[in-house]
């Protein structure tokens, strides 16, 4: 016999303002099975919760219905209340009479009637609830960080600091990411390498951190606390354990005409290479597309000069399988391709460069040893034009609709550095808006204007026309002067929009983590859970979640690490008990459920059944792995024999709700 208690909340005047709560409590008190009915100003307050607890004890309630705000708000609260009073926490149902009733209806009569219907629907459901207990699963005390840029490095260091093992998977031969390519950082102008490389070294020396460089994630299986990940270690044709990073092979390699990707192809390197001097791990890698030995079997110079005998032309890709409790995505970004912007002549003239290319051109380890020279004729540029928002805030097909966030600041930085080093160079910045929200950011931009004399002109550049004399004629509208300006520039720098790395989309599919239309990972809540993916056990760090500058990236990286540590610190995870289960007597073994399950939670087992004629028979029946099942219910509908049902949302319960609404 069901003994149901009904608790109607006033929520101050939020509910009581448009719903006659007394009438609701009275009407619901007459519903079959209801033995107790009460109303109270704030059910979620301690006094309100005590009211519930006492009623459960005094009346021996078998189920309770709380008519209050959305279950998304306080379902967890009232479940705890019930559990504290000794009632199974899944014997609680919430009737949403605030968001879905009192707040949207103005007429008291209408709202009260609806509240009663919602209340009796919840009563009909709770009468069919069954006590559920959450099952627990162990947590593998090891984290995986995908991406070895500043975001991944910071997350890994913080997790390792808490005493947990961390693996970093980085697709390039070295960790460091985009920050390693940057020359100086705003707004303090300290050199990026000087602050990044100590962190890289920390990663390499920390015994809790293992770096899989030149590796990619191949597949991800499992669930929060227990992921199984296969990692492909790409063949670098050099034995990492033997190579000392002396660099002799890179000097002797005859294939010197290989584009240097670390310098964005602005100069050349050898086919066997170490990306940059402070690379971690400092191990050579052979570029198979250019190496003569790998392509034609002729050469072998590097193998001859290597004293450590580290070169191995026969090395193959290697698959490693590891188990992790949590996965952090830190896949980062790239500047967009500018092929769609013919008007800026990026593909026509080598003197039109992107901002990241300018970083390399100005870097002491870059192609010109730190002297800013025009790429075309290696002369000193006298006039430089910066174009902002190239591809950002652009709703056409080749652009990105969002603001890339970092361009205003790095352009101010570039302009300032150029004016500082070469005072004879005139610098023009064409902007739409200058966006500088951040600590000391606006002051930094104002310094560029006021102290360094950078010319800021409001208006987007319309066209860049390469001239026969090698100059670049820039045409733009000065919107404040209301006139068109022409500038004869030596170099044009385009602040290209940034986009998530191309590897992020397939990775999201592997992780079943959701992404927005721009391929940024979605967070579990845009304000309150910014570093977690909606998929449990997946965390987000850095630009993979949205454009960010370095301080923000580091802050988010540490936040993600804190969340991971919180997860790894648990010995067991309680799983959601609202999962599917099959009635083996009804299951006909058709595999329909197995095919629709997005998590692979359903498998088939052979089981012995006693038949009516006292014989036994082996039948193939579905079996649900409760730890893997997420409780979507796709299988319950696919099942033709009705064997599959979902705890907490059973067929009978939903039917009862339908009946109660239509009564």
């Amino acid at each position: 016999m069901q003994k149901i208690g009904v608790f109607v909340c006033h929520c101050g005047t939020n509910i009581a303002g448009t719903v006659d709560v007394k009438a609701v409590a009275e009407a619901l008190g007459k519903e079959p099975g209801v033995v107790f009915s009460a109303e109270y100003p704030y059910m979620c307050s301690e006094a309100g919760q005590n009211l519930i607890k006492n009623a459960i004890k005094d009346y021996g309630l078998t189920g309770i219905v709380v008519c209050s705000c959305s279950p998304r708000m306080h379902e967890a609260t009232f479940r705890k209340t019930a559990a504290a009073a000794g009632l199974n926490s899944y014997m609680v149902e919430i009737a949403n009479i605030r968001e879905q009733c009192s707040w949207i209806h103005k007429d008291i009569k209408v709202a009260t009637e609806k509240a009663i219907v919602l209340g009796r629907t919840a009563i009909a459901k709770v009468a069919l609830n069954t006590p559920l207990t959450a099952s627990s699963s162990p947590v593998v005390k090891r984290a995986l960080v995908i991406g070895g840029g500043i975001a991944g490095i910071q997350t890994a260091l913080d997790i390792a600091d808490a005493g947990y093992e961390v693996d970093i998977v980085e697709k390039e031969p070295t960790i460091g990411g985009k920050m390693a390519q940057i020359d100086k950082t705003f707004p303090t102008l300290d050199c990026a390498a000087c602050i990044l490389t100590p962190k890289m070294v920390d990663c390499a020396q920390n015994e809790k951190i293992h770096i899989y460089s030149y590796s990619e994630v191949e597949s991800v299986k499992g669930f929060v606390g227990n992921f199984t990940v296969s990692i492909k270690k790409k063949a670098r044709y050099v034995d990492e354990t033997k190579c000392t990073g002396c660099g002799l092979c890179t000097e002797k390699c005859p294939m010197k005409k290989t584009p240097n990707l670390f310098n964005l192809g602005l100069d050349n390197r050898s086919a066997i290479y170490i990306p940059f001097a402070q690379a971690i791990p400092k191990v050579a890698t052979i570029d198979a597309d250019y190496c003569n030995m790998l392509k034609n079997g002729k050469c072998g110079v590097c193998s001859k000069v290597c004293a450590a005998g580290a070169i191995d032309y026969k090395q193959k890709d290697q698959i490693i399988e590891e188990k992790y409790g949590a996965i952090v995505v830190a896949t980062g970004f790239n500047p967009i391709k500018l092929d769609g912007y013919d008007e800026f002549a990026y593909n026509e003239s080598p003197d039109v460069v992107t901002s990241l290319e300018l970083e390399r051109l100005m870097n002491a380890a870059g192609p010109n040893g730190g002297t800013l020279l025009r790429p075309s004729d290696k002369t000193h540029p006298k006039t430089i034009v910066f174009v902002q928002c190239v591809g950002s805030r652009d709703t056409t097909d080749c652009g990105k609709p969002y603001c890339s966030k970092i361009c205003c600041m790095y352009t101010a930085k570039h302009a300032m550095l150029i004016r500082d080093k070469y005072p004879d160079t005139e610098v023009y910045v064409f902007y739409i808006d200058v966006r500088t929200p951040g600590k000391n950011f606006d002051e930094f931009y104002r310094r560029a204007v006021e102290e360094y004399g950078v010319h800021y002109i409001k208006g987007m550049v319309g066209k860049v026309m390469p001239q026969p004399d090698g100059k670049l004629l820039v045409r733009a509208a000065d919107l404040i002067m209301n006139e068109q300006v022409m500038i004869n520039a030596d170099m044009v720098v385009l602040a290209a929009a940034i986009e998530p790395d191309k590897t992020a989309r397939p990775l999201a599919t592997m992780l079943t983590a959701s992404m927005d239309t721009n391929d940024f990972f979605t967070e579990a809540h845009p304000k309150l859970r910014p570093v977690e993916s909606p998929t449990a056990g997946i965390f987000l760090s850095g630009v993979c979640q949205g454009p960010k500058d370095i301080p923000e990236t580091v802050a988010q990286a540490s936040a993600a690490a804190a969340k991971v540590i919180g997860l790894l610190a648990k010995d067991k995870l309680l799983s959601n008990p609202c999962v599917a289960h099959s009635d083996e007597n009804l299951c006909n073994g058709c595999s329909s459920c197995e095919r629709v399950c997005p998590y692979g939670a359903i498998s088939y087992v052979d089981k012995e059944f006693r038949m009516p004629d006292r014989t036994t028979k082996i039948r193939r029946v579905a079996s649900v792995n409760a730890a893997v099942c997420q409780g979507c219910g796709a299988c319950t509908v696919a099942c033709p024999s009705g064997a599959m049902d979902l705890s907490g949302f059973s067929n009978k319960q939903i039917m009862a709700e339908v009946d109660a609404i239509c009564r």
Binding site: E343, C389, R393, D394, T395, T396, G399, I432, K458, G459, M460, V461, G462, K463, R475, A476, A477, L479, N482, Q484
Partner: protein, 127 residues
């Protein structure tokens, strides 16, 4: 502020002026910029403010070459040239008949009118 005219311009051009983010790339790219009293970005802004009469009285509407560079380059897909064309059409309609006849054209055309404008006018009116 002329709301009827504003709605007419927005309807005939099919342009959503609210999409404009005021970057001025249309004016930066306009080859007729120097000839015009009101420039492409001003057309968009003035339509938004409802200042259509000023535009209709300005010779700027006949200086637009209809080269569609602004339409091609606008990062927000606003299509300023279509607004210019719509204002031009409104100006023509204000003069009386709804259509230009072939006989009327020689009287309007002077030597300064760009040839491309005529082509654009025919494209517009043949429909």
């Amino acid at each position: 502020m002329n709301n009827n005219l504003k709605e007419e311009i927005i309807r005939t051009s099919g342009v959503n002026v609210l999409k404009c983010m005021r970057c001025g790339k249309c004016s930066g790219t306009c080859p007729s910029y120097g000839e015009m009293e009101y420039h492409p970005h001003q057309f968009v802004y003035m339509v938004e403010k409802g200042e259509i009469d000023k535009l209709m009285d300005s010779p700027s509407i006949y200086k637009c070459l209809s080269c569609f560079a602004c339409v091609e380059r606008c990062p927000r897909g606003v299509e300023p040239a279509k607004i210019v064309e719509a204002v031009r059409l409104a100006a023509t309609r204000r003069q009386g008949g709804n259509h230009l006849t072939a006989e009327e054209i020689p009287c309007i055309v002077d030597d300064d009118t760009p040839g491309q404008l005529l082509v654009s006018a025919f494209r517009k009116y043949k429909k």
